[in-house]
Symmetry: C2
Subunit: 677 residues, 2 copies
Amino acid sequence: MTKHNIILQPSGSRGQVEEGQSIRSAARDLGVEIESICAENATCGKCMVLIEQGRFEKYNIDSRRENVSPVTAEEAAYFGRRPKFLKDKGWEVGQVRLSCQCKIQGDVLINVPEESRGNKQIVRKSATQREIEIKPSIRKYLVTMNPPTLERPIADWERLAKGLETSMGLVRRGEENLPRWSDFTVDYQCLRTLASTLREAKWNVTVSVWQDKEIVQVQSGYHEESYGAAVDIGSTTVALYLCNLRTGEMLAAESEMNPQIVYGEDVMSRIQYTIEHKDGLEKLHKAIISTLNKLLKQAAKTAKIKVDDILEMVLVGNSTMHHLLLNLPPKDLGLAPFVPAIHKSVDVKARELGLQINSAGNIHVLPTIASFVGADTSAMIVAEEPHKQDENWLLIDVGTNAELVLGNRKRLVCTSTPTGPALEGAHVEYGMRAAPGAMERISIDETTLEPKYKVIGVDGWNTDHAEFKGLVKGICGSAIIDGVAELFRAGIVDSRGKFKKELKSERIRQGESGWEYVIAWAEETSIGRDIPMTQQDVRQIQLAKAALFTAARTLLKRSGLESPDKIILAGGFGSYIDKEKAMLIGLIPDCVLDNVYAVGNAAGDGARIALLNIEKRKEIESVTRKVERFELPTDPEFQNQFMLATSFPHMSEPFPHIAHLIPNRVADPLAKKFMEK
Amino acid sequence: MTKHNIILQPSGSRGQVEEGQSIRSAARDLGVEIESICAENATCGKCMVLIEQGRFEKYNIDSRRENVSPVTAEEAAYFGRRPKFLKDKGWEVGQVRLSCQCKIQGDVLINVPEESRGNKQIVRKSATQREIEIKPSIRKYLVTMNPPTLERPIADWERLAKGLETSMGLVRRGEENLPRWSDFTVDYQCLRTLASTLREAKWNVTVSVWQDKEIVQVQSGYHEESYGAAVDIGSTTVALYLCNLRTGEMLAAESEMNPQIVYGEDVMSRIQYTIEHKDGLEKLHKAIISTLNKLLKQAAKTAKIKVDDILEMVLVGNSTMHHLLLNLPPKDLGLAPFVPAIHKSVDVKARELGLQINSAGNIHVLPTIASFVGADTSAMIVAEEPHKQDENWLLIDVGTNAELVLGNRKRLVCTSTPTGPALEGAHVEYGMRAAPGAMERISIDETTLEPKYKVIGVDGWNTDHAEFKGLVKGICGSAIIDGVAELFRAGIVDSRGKFKKELKSERIRQGESGWEYVIAWAEETSIGRDIPMTQQDVRQIQLAKAALFTAARTLLKRSGLESPDKIILAGGFGSYIDKEKAMLIGLIPDCVLDNVYAVGNAAGDGARIALLNIEKRKEIESVTRKVERFELPTDPEFQNQFMLATSFPHMSEPFPHIAHLIPNRVADPLAKKFMEK
């Protein structure tokens, strides 16, 4: 087998790898993780690397582009859709490659740009720029013992525990309160194989200790790394992150659809399923467990570790996902007075749930706050830490249901509200998921009333390129917000959300289901039909944003605040919407625009943080115990507020930060009533 | 259904019971437990009661013998075998009845004699007369909660925990260090049914708390009693005692053969089986678990409770039984250097072992001390408490293997020795188990050299009654000791154990396998053959007693003692042997005879004590940690001592307390060598 020298920059990792291996795979063998989310299908572009050319004396290699396989058709297609990106970066195709496609055929020096690097330390971006200290629940110790003799026939467990006490003392010299050997416990299943492991290992083992007290794994010989998995169970998607518990590195990220979807799309219909079917809970529980096991297996494969070496999992999800995961009947989550089975975090052995990590491994599920403010919200708090701020922050996780947390170190209040599926592009006539072919941005010229749009997977506006024709399939969530905001900004709909039929534009017309505005003509689409936004679509967004806004407004009022100092949008949705447009339609309260942050999957990040740092678990336990919960329907003002909040941006309060965008044409911001229709 | 008034003395319990019910069953309904071990077959006689005659003004009843069913044939047969017993007690048949057979047909006042009473408080008889304080690991609390409302939608678990904190505070007013609600944990399986139980119970439940911290059962409404089981797993017999954890009452005692016997009679052959068969451990483990489940079911039926209401089990057994119970490979117990997997006690959930008490119930297994000094010895220490004495006590548990513990509050030493099966009547030519037809006592006239004997199930000596003919089947363990001692005392064998062939008696003869002494002629037996004790039988006892004596002597020597202040014989064997005879043959060291106690099943009692009092568990944990272990084969003196110890009573030391019994005919107590044969 021919081998070649490769060098990876900026880490300087180097080694010999086999001819024909992909750069991404070779890099991993050398300990350098390169991102990828498309399972190496050349579609995500996360794994881009640069092939440097020249003679590098330091490493004694001659690196050339010809030393890797030629650019593939898939790579060419990918980069072909990104001319502006290449221009901005100053890269040319051939220099930049997708490392999953590009195979090694000679010596090369490879530069892994920042954005492609895996193994990132957890640095929370946006709102709270900070590093997370690694304090995992699992620590490993090498323990060397004298074998038993007739004179000293002390039992295996006591021999190990005494050895561990010594070893722990050596490793953590000077730390106070180290446990004594008689304080250690051992997981029963771990005890079962102890005798054979100790002898096989010739009394030289690595002991994994959970929370400084329970021995959960004993391995023959020396082992440095231990592993854990953080999981965010969404109603739609389950995302699992496999981490090295010592370094904090993320070794694999895997995701799957939540298999419970076949039993009901939203949480209420899944709760209903468990009520109506005797084995309903069992089915939903087993479905998620089996998907988690699949993800664990995939992740372990990616990271080239054994699933049995995963010693802990931290899971988050909304209260219904939480109950179904733990096999707790979710019935009372869905019936007034809406009560979860448990608030506090749950620690349970993996084998009790049938999760196929090490059977002695611990499963930690973050605390729930209320029936509709679940462990995912707890995780969002872990990630964002509003409870450590002086300023008042408003955290919003938008999905079919939105959870909101408002406050600072003195007080946190929370609530939730159903927003419906419109914000995720569902129940909107041409709505679709954020996938290639979906419009992701819409802009309307207020003079000509002509639109332009951007499509996922293609650079730039449709008006810039001829090749856009035939690409568009539908409108994703972020573009729906854009579209409604632009319809309002351009004066095509009024502050009540009604189409101004008198405007002169062939795009404004009476459609099948009422008035509509055509964004893309049939010939621009891949579906051969005009794609409009309809009166009904606008109505859906009005209802969704009214719910969200009313919830935020209620929390502000209860906290005696006019507006939040910062707004933090969590979840995939938050990352894609245009903050200004969201504020323009009154989806979020008025705030300095620079203080509105999109932080991505805060729940997943929170799960990862809790996995890597046990102090955070204690912290969130006490924080959630103090969070005040408001159930909106019990608020007497709710219905009234809700009606007012359907207008753009909101009929009863000023929005100074986007006031300049409110069209002159819309002249009735103080109308007392809405929806006379 | 006709009902009658019954009064039970001395408790004074009274009530109305249905006509035709047995007295034993009626008594239980009134809360009075009457002993029985024969499953109501009229054979054990444990359930005897007295029917009092006369008019009892206090209770306003007229009690007559005719108010119960007539004496049955089985009862007549039983009492027919006990004329002396009846005479001694001054009872007549008809007055005394077997309560399992005797049915109620009218008003009666019944006297339950001491020996028939169940429900005894645990009062350790013999050596340590004391009562055991009841401090079980399970406590029950009635918790009444306000149902959740929209305004106060706190989760079920937190609601329960807060209610429990209040309730515990009310019940245990003034106690310090009561747990706070946030300190409670809940068993995962218990949590799963919490929501439905709370609602079904209308928020009024009884909570069972394990060790003041973990909630293991939540029952609808008010429940006062909780239950536990103590188990002594012997290599041959498994005995289970079902107890009320609040009162300490024993509600049922069940026993079965240990099913592992089919895989090997002694511990070594069972260890061997697990080594030689891949699924050996699994088979042996499952066998004992399934027998325990059967016993639990039977006991629950007897006590009329649900198996699911049993919330804890405490188990003891030798180290091999301990390992097989816990599914731990016993290999290293049987191979030098003879090491158990664990010394300290094990707490494990019932469901982990497949034990079918409440799945959240705890299984507590007492600590082991060494490879051949197991949890049964720990239990014996719990029962006898040598570690609380000023005097030096020698505890001996005799079986196929004997465990010995010597010492006082300052120091305890222990060892074990294989004694072989001879002491239990096995490997002796006419040996048999202690069952009807077995000789239990033997006496030989030193002048005429004629024997007499007693048989189990019949009163008096054979020489007293004509009806003894045709009854005898064999010799049980206690009679073997008797027989050998008497052969020695009568001078028929010398101090080396050899038959004196020159003595004139037709009973001393050359048999098929060497010299022998005939105890029963063929016509006295039910087997139609002479029953002798042979030279080989004497040899077996010599080997067994030498092992036991050497072990005891080694411990004494290591402790710098001449002799123990008390000797405590545990186990069934100890209860039946004649202490004087045992000392005469040198089975136990010399000691004031009144200071030799037989305490019955101390291991079973210890298990029961540990079940009823958690302080005792902590105590034995720390005591066993300090017990010094000696492995005899590592003692250089062992072989030498062993050879000397085969003589009667012992060649190298005085036995002042039985010196008067040593026959003049035996003149060589200082012979230097033994067994020249």
